[in-house]
């Protein structure tokens, strides 16, 4: 049986294993046999045994005992053994293994081999896993091959030089002259390698970059040749002549034209030509157009050319191919700051992409929409964003809510709109908002004095509908505690008022207090709100007192502490109750938002009962707060 069939036979047997255990057994046996074979003298099957080992390695099993065999095979005079040996080296060795140093000499010898296919193996391996020392050692050899060899070797040597420069940037200077002369080659493989090498050299060394600016005209000529040439069967892809080479040249032009007027001027016409003449019905053409657009936007191009580029992106947005829509949006994202107006023109299409089925496209559309928000379009764009929020994938919700809040904060046309927007977000996605949302919203409501009545009505309605969204419930409780009297009055200009009794309101708060869904922090809000209402209502103070005293023995330490303190306020300090303790203290809230974050429900030690209890805060650390409220001229609740 020829050894090659034995490899395939082994693969067949392994695949036939019905369980993981069976597979392991087969592999253990095979590996044992391979190990034994490795120890024997050369018997002509070494390469096949190594190949078997490489298969086993790909399945995830350890194969380090094959490393030395790779070294041996690479040194063999037989091509088939060298080939597998080098493959093994690329798969099993990397620069961190000691064994990799041992192949340096073989590579060196093979680089001067009289068969180009052997040279090719050495070049490939060096470019794949050559360490810094190997690169330093062999760089002169590579430079020699760059200058004097056939195109098959030159193209590989060029990419090998790229790897060397990545590993040892100082060696860039060595390759610069050879790279320059490679641009005169006609062979596409060599040209491609040369362009990649020059790109790498220019990216790493500003002096080299300066030098290579002089070759812009030459690059422009090469591109023109590719774009204007007739059908070339060898390099044609969907009607584009060598799109791979075109894309690399465009990328190099981008680097050369950046921040440089002369170079940018020299390539202006070419870019316009490529942008207009390239057929984008297939991916290859779109790839070239895409690279052209990126180049135009990055260099110092004429404004007409820039407009052309943005329009190409706009056209891409309407393309049926999802990939093209996606990259169009990533490109627009890059230029939305610098060319804001140009991108705004395509806002409609971008917003439509929010409805795309694909999650990646949706994400891009969201980023771009948020970047396009302005004072002019805030109302219409926010409608779309809120619509998006109601159906957006869960992983995007947090980002969407924070984006909406930021936009609302910057461009809100009115306070009422702002409050409405935040409430809408809380109702739709209250579980995905950041912690600061609650104190921020409270602060906003406080400052919007004409809207207190409107806000408390809206929040009361929201509260009796649904108490599962903690952030919304917390704000609602706070609002009711603060402006409950407005609620009870039953009149409101901005919205239809509710007709509620004091009992109804207390019912709502008690429901929150007793619900399993309420978090400890939410219960804190509800209890404090209940307490605050004792100064704003007239008939049900006893009910409040009884609620408060019940919670005096609550298991939750935080609630218990509050309840006990409030209880004391009722008993011993009743005369103070109106005068300052439970009245809202907006200035405090504004100054100490962090106290409102009682989300964790952790008890904060308080220093006794003589301190004031500002709004929905967790128990205060006495001393700090006392200072601020030293004046104590807070008027009774509104």
């Amino acid at each position: 049986m020829s050894p090659s069939v034995r490899l395939q036979e082994m693969i067949r047997v392994i695949r036939g294993a019905r369980t993981q255990g069976e597979e392991r057994g087969v592999i253990q046996r095979e590996c044992a046999a391979i190990r034994a074979q490795f120890r024997q003298a050369d018997n002509g099957t070494r390469s096949h045994n190594l190949a078997k080992l490489l298969y086993v390695h790909m399945l995830g099993y350890p194969a380090h005992f094959g490393q030395m065999e790779c070294v041996r095979l690479i040194a063999s005079p037989r091509y088939n053994e060298k080939r597998v040996g080098y493959l093994g080296a690329m798969m099993l060795l990397d620069e961190k293994q000691d064994a990799s140093l041992l192949i340096t000499n073989s590579i060196k010898n093979d680089l001067s081999h009289n068969s180009q296919y052997v040279q090719s193996l050495a070049l490939c391996t060096l470019a794949c896993m050559g360490s810094a020392e190997m690169c330093r050692d062999l760089a002169p050899e590579i430079d020699r091959l760059l200058r004097a060899s056939n195109s098959y070797i030159k193209k590989k040597a060029a990419l090998c030089a790229v790897h060397i420069v990545r590993k040892v940037p100082d060696l860039g200077e060595l390759f610069t002259p050879a790279a320059r002369s490679l641009l005169c080659e006609k062979n596409h493989g060599v040209l491609h390698g040369a362009v990649v090498l020059i790109t790498e050299l220019c990216e790493r060394n500003p002096d080299t970059l300066e030098q290579f600016r002089k070759v812009v005209p030459e690059l422009v000529q090469i591109m023109k040749g590719l774009v204007m040439s007739g059908y070339s069967p060898e390099h044609n892809v969907a009607g584009i002549s060598d799109p791979f080479l075109q894309v690399r040249i465009l990328r190099l032009l981008r680097i050369l034209g950046r921040n440089n007027d002369t170079a940018s001027d020299a390539m202006n016409d070419l870019l316009a030509q490529v942008a207009t003449n390239t057929d984008s019905s297939k991916t290859a053409g779109s790839a070239v157009l895409y690279e052209t657009v990126l180049t135009v936007m990055d260099i110092k191009s004429e404004s007409g050319l820039r407009v052309l580029a943005v329009n190409i992106l706009g056209r891409f947005l309407l393309n049926n191919d999802r990939n093209i829509r996606y990259i169009s949006m990533t490109s627009l994202q890059k230029i939305v700051q610098t060319d804001h107006n140009a991108v705004q023109r395509h806002r409609g299409t971008i917003v439509d992409c929010l409805k795309d089925q694909d999650a990646s496209v949706k994400r891009r559309a969201l980023e771009l929409s948020l970047a396009l928000v302005s004072a002019v379009n805030i109302r219409s764009l926010m409608k779309e964003l809120l619509l998006f929020l109601s159906s957006c994938p869960p992983e995007l919700r947090a980002h969407t809510t924070s984006g909406i809040f930021n936009a609302a904060e910057r461009y809100a046309p009115s306070q009422r709109w702002h409050i409405d927007t935040i409430l809408h977000v809380l109702t739709t996605a209250g579980g995905d908002v950041r912690d600061e949302t609650v104190p921020n919203l409270i602060q906003l409501i406080t400052t919007a004095t004409e809207l207190h009545c409107y806000t408390v009505h809206k929040l009361y309605r929201a509260l009796i509908t649904d108490i599962s969204v903690q952030s919304l419930v917390q704000v609602a409780c706070w609002c009711i505690g603060e402006y409950g009297d407005l609620l009870l009055r039953g009149e409101c200009e901005e919205t239809e008022p509710v007709q509620v009794t004091e009992d109804d309101v207390l019912d709502a708060l008690e429901t929150v207090l007793q619900s399993h869904m309420s978090s400890p922090a939410t219960r804190g809000f509800a209890l404090t709100a209940t307490m605050k209402l004792s100064t704003r209502i007239t008939h049900n103070v006893d009910r409040i007192r009884s609620i408060v005293s019940i919670y005096g023995s609550c298991i939750d330490v935080e609630l218990q502490q509050r309840a006990v303190e409030y209880n004391a306020l009722f008993k011993k300090y009743d005369h103070m109750r109106y005068r300052g303790s439970v009245c809202g203290a907006p200035s405090v809230i504004a100054k100490l938002p962090e106290y409102l974050l009682g989300g964790s429900g952790e008890p904060v030690p308080s220093s006794g009962l003589s301190h004031t209890v500002p709004g929905p805060a967790t128990s205060t650390s006495g001393g700090d707060l006392l200072d601020l409220l030293g004046g104590l001229d807070v008027s009774p609740g509104e």
Binding site: N114, V237, S360
Partner: protein
């Protein structure tokens, strides 16, 4: 440059892995796991581009095999799609109507073809014919197992 190229089946079995930067074995395994999980979770008509850490991931499904590559952030995703397609075309030319089984049973050949198309994470040859001819010539050389390289083939095959 391309950082890695992976081929895996719909069940997540790895058929080929090419790494263009030195990475510890454990991390390679993690990357393979992440890629297979991410790509296999994608819906059928999704976009072929993903973001993962600081890399762009481009993948395409061909019958039962997923071709997945990781690229640096400045790479052109559309041309990467073309690159994957070119590799599939090369495999197809070599094996004749290539299927997953061909790549399983002849994995070394798949690597040899890849090594004629990409080098150090970059494209080395943009012409299909040149790559195919190079593979054919290398295979011919390999057939002559017994002779050291450099032997004049005319002495072995006098009629050719």
């Amino acid at each position: 440059m391309m950082r890695f190229l992976l081929l895996f089946s719909r069940q997540g079995k790895l058929r080929l892995q090419k790494w263009f930067t030195p990475i510890p074995e454990r991390e390679k395994k993690k990357i393979v796991r992440d890629m297979t999980t991410m790509v296999l979770a994608r819906k059928p008509r999704s976009c072929n581009f993903l973001h993962w850490k600081d890399l762009k991931i481009v993948y395409k499904r061909y019958a039962s095999l997923y071709f997945c590559c990781g690229l640096d952030a400045e790479e052109n995703e559309l041309i990467a799609l073309e690159m994957l397609h070119r590799y599939v075309e090369l495999l197809d030319k070599y094996f004749g109507n290539v299927c997953e089984l061909d790549i399983i049973f002849n994995f070394e050949k798949a690597y040899f073809i890849l090594d004629e198309f990409l080098l150090g994470g970059e494209i080395q040859e943009t012409s299909k014919q040149v790559v195919s001819r190079a593979i054919e010539a290398s295979d011919m050389l390999q057939e002559v197992r017994c002779c050291p390289v450099g032997t004049d083939l005319r002495s072995v095959f006098p009629s050719s």
